[in-house]
Structure formats: C-alpha cells, structure tokens
C-alpha cells in the first residue's frame, strides 16, 4: 500500500507538530516559550560538532550533540541570570545567539566536507520528505518520520510517567524542592526533550517551523482550558489541525489570488495558520476570549438597564403621580445607562419576561415585576441608609453610590445591610424601604 504525496507531507507535519507540542506546553506554561526558540537555534553547533566527530549524518551523533548543546544553552542562560544578574530574557537572547552564530560558522566550515546545508536546517524541506521513503509493514513512509516518531514516543512516555513531578516543578519549584521532587532535574528533562525534538524535526520542517510548533499550539491551548491535562490534549489536536490546514492552504489559497498552478511553501503556510488559530482562540475562547468578555459585559449592561426601568416604574407608581402616555420611554431615554437607543429593547424585554404590561402608552408592573422592583429599591434605600449612618457621605452623593451598589446586591448582602441598619423602615430621604420579600 502506498499513500499519495500530499498525505505523506501532512503525515510528517502532523507527527512533527505533536512532537513539538508536548515539550512546548511545559515551556509555555512556565512563561519560557522563547526557550524553545533559543534551544532550536542553539542546537546547531551541537549538530555540527556531531558531524565533525562522526563524519556521518548518523542521527545518533546529531542527537547527542544537539542534546548537549541544548542543555548547555539552558545552563548558560541560568548562569547569566543567577550569577551575572542579567535579566532572564536578555540572558536567553545572549546565550542562544552566541550558540547559533557558532553553529552557523561551523556549518559553513563543514559545508565542503559534509553534506549539510544551513538553509535546510533553517527552513526544512518538508516537500522533499516523501521522496525518501522506507517500507514499514508494507507502507512506504518518509524516512524523516522515523526520528520524529521516536522523539514523540519518548515525550509521551516521559510526560506520562513524570506527570506530577513535571507539573509541580513548573507550578511551584520551591515547594517541589522541599518535597524532594528535583525541579531543576525536571526542567533539564524538558530541555533535553525540547532539544531532541528540535533535531528530529529539523530535517522535515526546519527550525523556524519547529519554534512555531513548540510555542503556538501550547499558547493557544492555554487560552482554551484551565486544566493542564486538557491543555496538553488540545495542543496535540491543534498541532494536527495546523498541519492539515496549513498544507491545504499552501496548495489552494495562492490559486485564489494568482490563478491556476500557483502554490506556496507548506511550512510557511502552517506557521501562518497557527497564527490565525491563535488569534481565533484569543477572540472566541469561551469566557476568557475577547468576544465572550465583550458579550458578558453587554449582557451585564443590559441587565442593569432592565433593572433601571423596573425601578423607574416602581417609583412612579409609588409616588401616585398619574403617568402620562409614553412618559416611561421618554424618562428611560434620559437614563444614562438605558439611553434612547436601548429603550425599545428594554421595554419589550420587560413585557416578554412578564414583568410589566403596557396599555395606551402607560406602563404598570405585574406581580413578578413589582416583587423584583421592590427588591431593587429596597437594596437602594438600604444602601443609602447604611452609607449615611456609617460613611461620612454628603446626602447629595448618597443616591449615585446606591444607584451603582443596588445592581450588585445579593439577597444575603441585603440581609446584612438590614441588620447593620437595625431593620430601618425609612431611608435618609424619608421614603419607605420596601420590606423583605417572602
């Protein structure tokens, strides 16, 4: 059985994305996403030295060299930060650029003797991977998938076995230390996994893409869940989605603008898609997303407007002044929190919820509406009484303060207010405080 070219490209990208997402979550959750960037660049001299010693492209040497370089750069960052007292970001930037420069110099020097190309290391050769296949169980799979799958398996096993140790090392290293959980060792394990992942993914997707796969799915997943295990799951799924969507986009999107026969680099498109996915999550995440927060705020403002309308009708009814036709909509339009634009929607919501009825332009509260309004007015006047008695607020300022507080007063709070004011029946303006509803 053989899979077609595009399936193989996507398959390689998928395993690479999943392999990167695993250590990525543990870096990003510590606010060290950039460490993925640092390591993926810093392993370059390790790979070069691996070539230099072995003289072959044997991946065992590459891995060893890269892993050592990865740990060295992590340690150098730590040393610069702790001992030389350099800011952590600056330490990381210094350490990895030095390593990267060293790696590039070595690579260029080696280019004559060993078949290695710095350009490939940076940008990868995803499109070429299906050309070099090996047969496994009768399937022709890209050779580049081999090391990535090994690293992915290592990450899965390590994270499954050391789950709680890794988590506590990220969350509270000081406590982990006192519990004997070796947070520094855990940190180094994540570094080694990151370094190994970088090397394994270089050939297929290049170091720039590796950084994207390390940081973007993890950062996006963190927006979407509040549980670390779910974050890991989402990051894996997002990696796969990014790989598939990226390849599809590379094949089809340029056609839209440039016409038949045009396509673009798959890794580039995947990086772009991962950015799009992140922005989408930022906008659409439940609860914490920009849109969800906006909507919640609007709902809150609308609820307050409803409550203002209820209070207004209640007070008019209470004052026994004859209501003229359309007086309520006119008064509501002047209320800062309802305003002319919202009047109709607020009033129709009142009728729809069975809180008020209208007849010839005159509004009156239903039984439910009356109870709800009494609760609000009660909260308002209790606050005025309480503030007048306990805080030295001038009488003219009482109303504005109570106006804001009444909308956030729960029943329990109203009870406490009543206790604190000695179950007052009259507010400072001489109006009756509605009794507690049953």
């Amino acid at each position: 059985m053989s899979l077609d070219y595009d399936t193989l490209v996507v398959l390689v990208a998928c395993v690479a994305a999943m392999a990167c997402a695993l250590p990525g979550v543990f870096l990003v959750v510590r606010g060290m996403g950039l460490m993925g960037d640092a390591i993926s660049h810093a392993v370059l001299p390790g790979i070069a030295v691996g070539f230099l010693i072995s003289g072959t492209r044997d991946s065992v040497w590459m891995f060893a060299g890269a892993a050592i370089a990865g740990i060295l750069v992590a340690m150098l960052t730590q040393v610069l930060h702790r001992i030389a007292n350099v800011d952590r970001g600056a330490a990381m930037g210094t350490a990895f650029t030095v390593f990267f420069a060293l790696g590039l110099v070595l690579m260029v020097q080696l280019a004559d003797t060993v078949n290695i190309d710095p350009h490939t290391v940076l940008y990868g050769a995803l499109e070429l991977t299906p050309l070099d296949t090996v047969a496994i169980f009768g399937m022709h799979l890209p050779r580049a998938m081999g090391p990535i799958c090994v690293v992915l398996a290592c990450s899965i096993v390590t994270i499954a076995v050391l789950w709680k140790e890794l988590r506590i090392a990220c969350f509270d290293p000081a406590l982990a230390q006192t519990l004997g959980m070796r947070p520094e060792l855990m940190h180094q394990i994540v570094m080694v996994l990151t370094a190994a992942t970088c090397v394994a993914c270089f050939e297929a997707v290049g170091s720039v893409m590796t950084v994207t796969f390390i940081v973007a799915p993890a950062a996006t997943a963190l927006l979407l869940s509040r549980s670390l295990s779910v974050v890991v799951g989402i990051a894996l799924v997002l990696g796969v989605i990014t790989a598939i969507a990226g390849h599809w986009a590379a094949l089809h999107v340029p056609e839209l603008f440039l016409g038949e026969g045009f396509d673009t680099s798959s890794s580039g498109a995947m990086a772009f898609v991962s950015g799009v996915v992140f922005v989408m999550a930022l906008l659409c995440a439940p609860r914490r997303g920009v849109i969800a927060r906006r909507l919640a705020l609007r709902r809150l403002v609308f609820d307050v407007a409803i409550e203002d309308a209820l209070g207004l009708i209640y007070r008019l009814e209470e004052s026994n002044v004859e209501q003229t036709a359309n007086q309520i909509p006119q008064l509501l339009a002047r209320d800062v929190r309802v305003g002319p634009r919202r009047v109709q929607r607020v009033l129709s919501t009142l009728t729809r919820r069975g809180l008020a009825v209208v007849e010839h332009g005159v509004w009156s509260l239903t039984h439910e509406g009356h109870a709800a309004a009494a609760g609000l007015v009660r909260a308002h006047r209790l606050w005025e009484t309480y503030l007048a008695a306990t805080v030295d607020v001038p009488a003219s300022h009482l109303h504005t303060a109570a106006e804001r507080l009444e909308h956030v007063t729960t029943e329990a709070l109203a009870k406490k207010l009543a206790d604190a004011t000695g179950d007052a029946a009259i507010d400072p303006h001489g109006r009756a405080i509605p009794p507690e509803s049953e």
Binding site: I168, C170, F171, A174, L175, Q177, L179, S225, R226, L228
Partner: protein, 268 residues
C-alpha cells in the same frame, strides 16, 4: 563546624551561626537561635530584614555562606519529610492551569513517591484538608478564580496534607481578609495543640501577642528571641526597627568579600 553546647539537640529547629549573602551583600548575619517544640512562633522585622531568606536558608533553597541548620537534631536534607513549607503567595503563577484540589494534593507527593500518579486516596486527603480551611466548595475551581485569601488557604491546606512536624510559613497573613486571617489562626493553633511547631514570617506587630507564643525579632541578625512576653518588648522593637545597622553592614560586606575571595582561591 563545631557546635556550641548551648543548642538543644531535640529542638525542631536550631540555627547555629547562620550567615547568608546575596551578591556579597549580607542578608543574614550570624543568626543563632532555637525554636522549641510545640510553639507557634513568628519572625518579625522590617522589610529587607531577611525573614524570608531565613526560612529559605533553613530549607536549603538559598546557599548559606556559613553556619548550620538542624531540624530535630539532624541536617535538613535528612529530615525533608518532617518539614512543611508554605511559600509566599506571590511566589507562584496563579494563572497556572490547575485546580485548588490539584494544588492541595501536591502536599501528598512526598509520601506518594516518584512516578506514581495521584489517586483517589490522595484526592480524599486533599479534600479533607480543604474542608479544614473551609474551601471544599472551591475544590474544582481553577486557582486564578480564587480570591487572595482563598489562595492563601489553599496553600495552608496543602501544608496540612504534608502532615509535617515543623512548618515554615512565609507571610501566610499577607493581604488576606479578616475572616481568612481568623481561619488561618485557628488552623495554626490546632497544629500547635497537636504538638507541632509552626514558624511564621509575620508583618503585623499588632497581632503578635494575640496569635503567637514565641517570637524572633530579626533585622539581619537576631535582636531578640524567646517567649513573646520576654522578647517582644518596646526596647527590642526599637532595636529591630529603628536605625539601620550601617556599621555592621559595612563590616559584614567586607567580610563577605573576603569569604568569597577565599572560596574562589581554594577552588582555583
């Protein structure tokens, strides 16, 4: 390092001649004290007096220039299991994706051992501890959804789960509401009544006599230590909070340089 005979070997915490320096600037200078068994002790002193550093040095979290710390007569590294640590609330990232129950269950990790997953029995212990601090209803909340006082109580519950004989707590009362403060005090007293020793870094001088029965007045060095009635005096407080110890600081700084110089040459 020879040990002076004045130290009680059975004491939960005995500190002998401890000196800690950051970048050659001394933070703790020649600290020498014993905390007796079953006391609720507080460490008070001005900002930068080295209170947190003292706890961290006891736990080998910061390196000491000289001196030695004994926990129940042994070095700390042999007594990990008997010591529970409550770090400052600000020391962790509260947006981290874990629930309150997850955090409290961390207190069981030592007994659970390496590589074993948290199981039902650990979760039950964690739940019991959450009940003791009155947070059972918040067990499955992500920790960023808790108020500051609730977060502090989560830390306390985690310490309870550790079931230690000596507790070192870094400012458990920092910016908590009155109800939380009372809840924490009740738990600390219950611990002391079980014969455990609790050492708390504390800021509020008003409550020292009410909450604690042992006190250490610290300002880089120990100004006074002992039962609250003896040590917590106006004179000692003046010595702790008044005037900076500029002369000692200068001398210690010079000595610190000397010390690090000798270490380097002996290493090289």
């Amino acid at each position: 390092m020879p040990r002076g005979g004045e130290h009680d070997d059975a004491a939960p915490l005995s500190i002998h001649d401890l000196t800690v320096a950051w970048h050659r600037k001394p933070v703790l200078w020649d600290v020498d004290l014993d905390i007796p068994q079953g006391k609720l002790a507080c460490i008070v002193g001005p900002n930068g007096a080295g209170k947190s550093t003292l706890l961290k040095a006891c736990l080998d979290l910061v390196p000491a220039v000289s001196g030695e710390v004994r926990v129940f007569g042994q070095p700390y590294r042999k007594q990990h299991a008997r010591v529970g640590y409550v770090p400052q609330r600000e020391s962790v990232d509260w947006s981290f994706p874990v629930s309150a129950l997850d955090v409290v269950a961390m207190g069981t990790y030592r007994r659970l051992g390496w590589c074993k997953p948290v199981g039902r029995s650990q979760r039950e212990q964690a739940m019991e501890a959450l009940e003791r601090v009155g947070l059972e209803a918040f067990a499955h909340r992500q920790i960023s959804q808790l108020s500051g006082g609730q977060q502090q109580r989560v830390f306390l519950a985690r310490a309870l789960v550790q079931d230690a004989d000596l507790y070192l707590m870094d400012e458990p009362f920092a910016s908590v509401d009155a109800a939380t403060e009372q809840a924490i005090v009740d738990v600390l007293r219950a611990l002391r009544d079980q014969g455990r020793t609790v050492v708390v870094v504390h800021h509020d001088l008003q409550t020292v006599t009410e909450y604690f029965d042992w006190t250490v007045l610290l300002n880089m060095r120990v100004v006074a230590a002992g039962p609250v009635g003896d040590a917590f005096t106006a004179e000692h407080l003046r010595a702790t909070y008044g005037g900076r110890l500029t002369l000692l600081e200068q001398a210690a700084s010079a000595l610190g340089q000397l010390a690090s110089g000798t270490t380097r040459s002996s290493n090289g």
